[in-house]
Assembly symmetry: C2
Homo-oligomer: 213 residues x 2
């Protein structure tokens, strides 16, 4: 009685995550989710208590775990270094988002889902900011601080870290537009070119912190 263990529930979470990230909460119907999960319409209510609660469960049981995985892979990439330099930190961050431990579709789902919630705050946004983004940013801040040649307040440093995240995430979110503008598919070659570019751009951008202002 512990072998099968709620396979339906898992399939529902999988498909719900995929569909919500592709189309957004309102554009997805429970029928679409249960059909894709090859289970019955009533299953959503039985397992989660409604569409809205399923949405929340996707964040709590799937999204948050992936976010941890992503951050662990970022930390792992820097684990060898005693004191990584700025370039290493930035490149590891860009790589975590663009080439990290997730599959392509996982990555897309993960980031699109986050963006939907961040620009259209619902009940999951508090959790995302408090439990995932704040710690991650604080983590970056404390890795970057020793690389700088001047004392910089936390608050100012956080804005810089947000700017770097902005660059990375934007190449993701506006992916269809970027493809259209550059006439460029997001293949493996282009993605690693992007990592180089982002690293160079942000590395130079961060130098503003080392200047008088």
């Amino acid at each position: 009685m512990a072998g099968t263990e709620d396979n339906t529930r898992e399939r529902l979470l999988d498909q719900a995550e995929r569909l919500f990230s592709e189309k957004g909460f309102a554009a997805v119907s429970v029928r679409e989710i249960t059909n894709a999960s090859q289970c019955n319409l009533a299953a959503v209510n039985y397992h989660f208590g409604g569409k809205q609660k399923l949405y929340l469960a996707v964040f709590k049981e799937r999204w948050a775990k992936r976010a941890q995985k992503l951050q662990k892979s970022f930390i792992q990439a820097l684990a060898g270094k005693q004191q990584p330099d700025l370039e290493e930190v930035i490149s590891a961050m860009a790589r975590a988002f663009l080439e990290g431990p997730l599959t392509d579709s996982e990555r897309r789902n993960h980031i699109q889902l986050m963006q939907r919630e961040l620009s259209n705050p619902g009940q999951a946004m508090g959790m995302i900011v408090q439990q995932v983004m704040r710690p991650f940013i604080q983590n970056l801040v404390s890795m970057i601080r020793p690389c700088l040649s001047r004392e910089v307040e936390d608050e100012r440093l956080r804005i810089y870290v947000l700017s770097m995240l902005g660059v990375v995430l934007y190449f993701f979110l506006a992916r269809p537009a970027v493809s259209g503008i550059l006439n460029q598919e997001y293949d493996q070659r282009f993605k690693s070119e992007l990592v180089s570019h982002i690293t160079a751009f942000c590395l130079n951008g961060m130098q503003a912190l080392n200047q008088e202002r």
Copy 2:
């Protein structure tokens, strides 16, 4: 017969733009739009031929015009200079998006609507990319090229311009998240601090183009 001239149609476009940008296409009902516009349910069908076509009309008749206004204000800001330097170009760009000629709510509607379409391409995306973004980016490219100390191919320069746009737009789109992370309202003081920050960050970031690679 040319004085009143379809006031209802205009109100519908106004309210549709606001609601679509706040909640997204699927989450808004025709009833919600017509109530907000203080007109009848059937008006959407009469004037536009359906909800989907109203959505498209919002982009064609409202969004595109605002985009032009925004770009004109950007060009205007640089009109005095014979050859603006890089800092002036970047600061004018950031200002156009963050403090430009639109009211706060116009700006929010405009950018959120764009982002919804860019990350979730529908029928309006082609128009946005071809008629608005491509020309704007090409414009930026040709203003920036003379500021550089090296020859740079168009393609490479476009990626840099996209990165700058990424920074600017991200501070907009993730506004609720940024507020939560920094514990900071988007008041006038903070917005002009953002413009300074973005200018400094991007100005330095662009220096990567002047380096060997």
